[in-house]
Symmetry: C2
Subunit: 398 residues, 2 copies
């Protein structure tokens, strides 16, 4: 195994599926003893030793002699020198494109943020976005200084139907894009491998490798905010959808058929539960078209009935949607996150009531975790998606 | 590789994950050339040759010298002797427990039905069901004659929340069972390995290995009848649910909240779309509590407005449920089956209208297949579930 920089973008040369599995286990579960790596990957100790030796020699992986842990299982009690990945052996950039902003982070292999950079955009035309992504990347590269030589590539997260293999954003209603090749111009200008991914899928990868989903066999992330999204991790991988569409929780017909969604359909969860839908309802009731979502939340907290009703209606749709995820896919853990979490206490009662009313049998046993979530988390998701592609040797195949 | 009958139940001793993959590919895709087996499993030709040699020697797999096919891909044009599994090298029983009937089939390794047997039951108490399953199994074993010595085990399919690892039916509302250990008494009386599985999950395995899902990367089966069920195959396996619950399409809150389900919840799909719900609506409207589902269908076909409305309402709930499956999990293929398919033309228009109205973007591109379905198919599902456990070496671990 070697790091090769014969092409643009430093890469890991993990040559066999077994070495990819072993490295992934050390990356996501380190520090971890060799015996546990073998047990958890189902590979022999010989295979682990063979895969780890060159990683140790090249400084990608380190054995923490100063931090011995006790082995678990049959070899319990024997002190071991646990393996872990050297976080900064490779670096990546993760960038999230919003409708009004481009957010970037620079991270090491474990998706820990070292630097971040934000730029607002006046419009979301593809040219504007490409220019701004390049400017944010340049800013992060400058912050990395000499370390930028260890960059493996740039992950970019966009909402909508994204074809990662071709780098084309097939359809992004939020950005107003149809068939936009985002990867090609970015690769040309940045001189680095570029991976475009759906934002919720990228976030799911981040949570699976480095977050709430790390030891979960099956989990779901539900994001509440300007859209209602869902990432599913089932049977060992993120659910991508055979036609590029999956996790479209915001467009399940769980709301009243009188509610018309921005997508044009009736009864979508987003039609009552997106921050925009809540805001519209509060503005209409108050006759105050200038209210912000912060104003709407303040009204609800101060007891305004129309504002409370708008958040309740959103919470009921979200709660029903969570029950659908549980009844249909049976995750052990559901993480509710997104920028809407700032007002979560306004949704929470109705979310939980509706979930409880419709979760079927043992599906109700799934653990609901709620978590504040920053815009940087989306960019970190893009970084995690790129890290996974680097480890799985997929980046230079795209 | 050997067939061992040192314990009850003939078994395949596939010793490595690679040999399991190779055998599975030959079983599900045979006749198939060695080169294609290697290409499709991602294993080397040497690995294929090594795994296949003992299978050929023992007559589990055969090379069809008399049926050469042309290789595909890089070796295109070269005649090859395709490999296939000898269907009757191992035999299995598959048994479906209904609320009023036990249905059994005897099949070979490719789940092709050789014999079937049915018995009605007066009640669905566990003792009655165990007695009847044993009687049906005995009838099938008698029909197999000397071949019964090649039986690998008995698969039993039950609706509800089933823990296959322990053989316990945790919760089956249809049978009125809670925490019933079905495997232990059957193993004791039959002297064969027994695998209990959820009926829809078993059907999904059958379709994935031997049916509509054979070359599908992700597919869903939706069953219409006395219940509305769903089996999902995603990321290389059936979705089982971390708490044993998944695919509960019948209990998604997509119907009017005025509709009360047999499970006690409001708004469930089954509350308007099960054959029982349709029948109740037609009976109530006609003031004729003795009507059968066949009578209800005849009324709808003859233009009775209340009967048509009942089937329409069912169709709309099922169509919305199909859109939920597509939007959330993005399968390439959805197979609609079940005993309700006999009246499918009465549901179809509303199913398709509602699916089209709510399928999001490219999720609408999934292929909807409809198929008539017999009760034997459920028993065949139980057989397929057992075959898979035999191949994956899971049966004697349970």
């Amino acid at each position: 195994m070697t790091i090769s920089d014969s092409e643009a973008g430093v890469r890991l040369a993990l040559r066999t599926p077994a070495s990819v599995d072993i490295f992934t286990r050390i990356l996501t579960h380190g520090p971890i003893g060799r015996i546990d790596v073998g047990r958890q990957t189902g590979l022999s100790q010989a295979a682990v030793t063979k895969a780890v030796a060159p990683l140790l020699a090249e400084g990608i992986v380190t054995a923490d002699a100063e931090r011995p842990v006790r082995a678990t299982g049959p070899a319990a009690g024997r002190p071991v020198q646990p393996l872990r990945v050297v976080p900064d052996a490779l670096l990546v950039l993760g960038i999230k494109v919003n409708v009004d902003e481009v957010i970037g982070v620079a991270t090491g292999m474990t998706a820990k943020v070292r630097w971040s950079a934000h730029r607002t955009i006046a419009d979301s035309r593809p040219e504007t976005v490409v220019d701004t992504v390049c400017a944010v990347a340049a800013e992060l590269i400058a912050l990395l200084g000499a370390d930028a030589g260890r960059l493996a590539g740039v992950g970019v997260a966009v909402s909508g139907d994204v074809d990662s293999a071709s780098g084309v954003v097939r359809d992004s209603p939020l950005l107003g894009w149809h068939g936009v090749d985002l990867a090609a111009p970015l690769r040309a200008r940045l001189g680095l491998p570029v991976l475009i991914d759906n934002d919720v899928r990228a976030l799911t990868i981040a949570e699976h490798w480095f977050g709430a989903g790390i030891d979960s066999g099956s989990f779901a992330i539900v994001t509440i905010g300007s859209g209602i999204g869902c990432g599913l991790y089932l049977n060992g991988d993120v659910v991508s959808g055979s036609h590029g569409v999956a996790g479209e929780l915001g467009h399940l017909p769980l709301a009243s058929m009188e509610a018309v969604c921005v997508c044009g359909r009736r009864g979508c969860v987003e039609a009552v539960a997106s921050s925009g839908a809540v805001l519209r309802a509060v503005r209409d009731a108050a006759g105050a078209p200038q209210l912000t979502i912060g104003d709407a939340a303040r009204l609800a907290r101060s007891g305004d009935e129309a504002a409370i009703a708008a958040f309740d209606r959103a919470g009921r749709a979200i709660g029903a949607a969570l029950a659908v995820v549980a009844n249909l896919t049976g995750p052990d853990t559901v993480l509710v996150a997104g920028e809407g979490m700032q007002e979560f206490e306004l949704y929470e009662r109705c979310i939980r009531e509706e979930f409880t009313a419709h979760a079927f049998g043992a599906a109700a046993d799934c653990v609901l975790i709620t978590r504040a979530h920053t815009f940087d988390d989306w960019a970190r998701g893009a970084a995690a998606s790129l890290i996974r592609a680097v480890v799985r040797q997929e980046l230079h195949r795209i």
